[in-house]
């Protein structure tokens, strides 16, 4: 056995602007064990329920993360709506699906760019983010915000999209599709990209299940689960199947996310066809009383919202289990046995969002 040494990774590292620290136990260049350390920027947003009433907390929930801000707001609203037995209008449900899927596409494009940056393919990174920029513009056009959309509220949506806008978005996504095909083909077929992604960071189906991996990380290991199938918003009326791969390496995770981008475009098309006319919100009366555990599929995986209310306007407890938190144990498993040079890219393949984790 060769001599063991411990190399610290992060909290400041060029590939990851967010603070996560790993102690890597190395044997020569091989990682034997990794111990994570988080909590550098813990913000205590869950504690804020004591200061903000249950309707104001939507603004806090949205600010848990800057990438899936829409889904955080939606998850919280869905949980409170179920406690209060509010049935939101169908149009609002479909609007939630459209905005949520747009968030997913932009999140996956952001991640593709960061991955390209992590293995040193700068122009591919620029190309991905060029594409993402168009979706951010669509968001600004429809919601008024580029990062924080503020369109969710308890009892529906605060803004409506008119039919021309939805048609325009479907047309824009149609035009983007061929560009996206070209971009993603580089990821899937280019020689230098493939050598960095293939056959590293294996996670078997059993490991993914036992370690509680979620989202694309889990689906790339062959588990066909997608919380959208549980039926919230208008997802029960949309036809789709979870994207899976049976390989379980870094390449499979890229593959799954790329297929999910095209799947999301398809979901937006379906939603645009089925969206009914009508109002987008219902008046909210009374105070929530009871508890609910809501599971929402975010771009990074399943998020769990636990809301406990006591009949006053202040909630007892809001707990958010974010996908990155659940993916950390699986990340540690994939790191075992890999080369030190592969560590940054393996950390990126779980699509880490430390800002979610430090809610």
């Amino acid at each position: 056995m060769s001599k063991r040494s411990i190399v610290p990774f992060g909290p400041q590292h060029p590939v990851l602007p967010e603070p996560i620290h790993l102690d890597l136990v190395l044997e020569d260049e091989k990682v034997v064990q990794a111990v994570p350390s988080i909590g550098f920027v813990h913000r205590g947003l869950e504690k804020l329920v004591e200061k903000k009433d249950y309707q104001e907390y939507v603004y806090v929930a949205e600010r848990i993360c800057g990438i899936c801000s829409f889904m955080h707001g939606m998850g919280y609203c869905e949980a409170v709506e179920r406690i209060m037995n509010i049935e939101i209008p169908d149009r609002a449900k479909f609007l939630r699906v459209i905005w949520a899927e747009m968030s997913r596409i932009h999140s996956h494009l952001l991640w593709l760019g960061l991955t390209a940056d992590a293995f040193g393919f700068e122009s591919l990174f620029m190309e991905s983010w060029k594409m993402r920029e168009k979706i951010l513009d669509m968001f600004e056009y429809s919601t008024g915000g580029r990062v924080i959309f503020s369109v969710n509220k308890i009892g529906g949506q605060r803004k409506d999209m008119d039919d021309d806008m939805i048609k325009m978005f479907v047309k824009l996504f149609g035009e983007m599709e061929s560009d996206l095909r070209e971009l993603t083909n580089t990821f899937l077929q280019d020689y230098s990209v493939n050598t960095r992604l293939r056959d590293v960071g294996f996670l078997t189906k059993e490991q993914a299940h036992d370690l509680g991996a979620v989202g694309p990380m889990m689906r790339a290991s062959g588990i066909s689960l997608d919380t959208r199938k549980m039926g919230y918003a208008a997802y029960p009326e949309i036809k789709f199947e979870p994207v899976t791969s049976n390989v379980g390496d870094s390449y499979a995770r890229v593959d799954v996310r790329i297929k999910e981008i095209f799947q999301s475009i398809d979901i937006i098309r379906q939603a645009a066809k089925k969206i009914p006319a009508g109002t987008v919100d219902v008046p909210v009366k009374g105070m929530p009383d009871g508890e609910f555990m809501m599971r929402v599929e975010q771009p990074r995986g399943e998020a769990v919202y636990y809301v406990k209310a006591n009949g006053t306007k202040f909630l007892d407890r809001v707990r958010v289990r974010t996908p990155t938190f659940a993916n950390l144990p699986a990340l540690l498993e994939t790191l075992k046995g890999c080369q030190l040079a592969d560590v940054p890219i393996l950390i990126l393949t779980i699509d880490p969002c430390i800002s979610c984790t430090e809610r």
Partner: protein, 112 residues
């Protein structure tokens, strides 16, 4: 709770055997959540099998020490350290115990 969610109240002392039972019937850990109640804490352990969610719940007094389930469900060590750091609940025999250094908060046990 939700349509396919179950809630089961258990005795705190039977946590480890019940968790082992869950593990053997193919469940995996989704989350552990602590809630402050008057004079103690309410702990909810959520397990999932497919889309089904099963919650185990028990209440403990403020000074009660509980056993860790991280030797049965590996991911539990993060949740348990989180609960220890934020709420100050003492959890024994965690697989990787950070001894209160997982969250570097300005105030110790801020959620207590």
């Amino acid at each position: 709770m939700q349509d396919n969610n179950q809630l089961k109240i258990i005795d705190p002392n039977t946590l480890v055997p019940t968790a082992l039972e869950m593990k053997n019937s193919g469940y995996r850990l989704v989350q552990i959540c602590a809630t402050r109640t008057e004079g103690g804490y309410e702990l909810t352990y959520s397990f999932a099998k497919g889309y089904r969610l099963k919650n185990l719940r028990f209440e403990i007094a403020e000074e009660t020490e509980i056993m860790s389930v991280s030797n049965i469900f590996e991911p539990a060590f993060l949740y348990e350290n989180e609960i220890h750091d934020l709420f100050g609940i003492k959890i024994n025999l965690i697989k990787i115990d950070y001894n209160g250094t997982l969250y570097k908060t300005a105030k110790e046990t801020p959620f207590k």
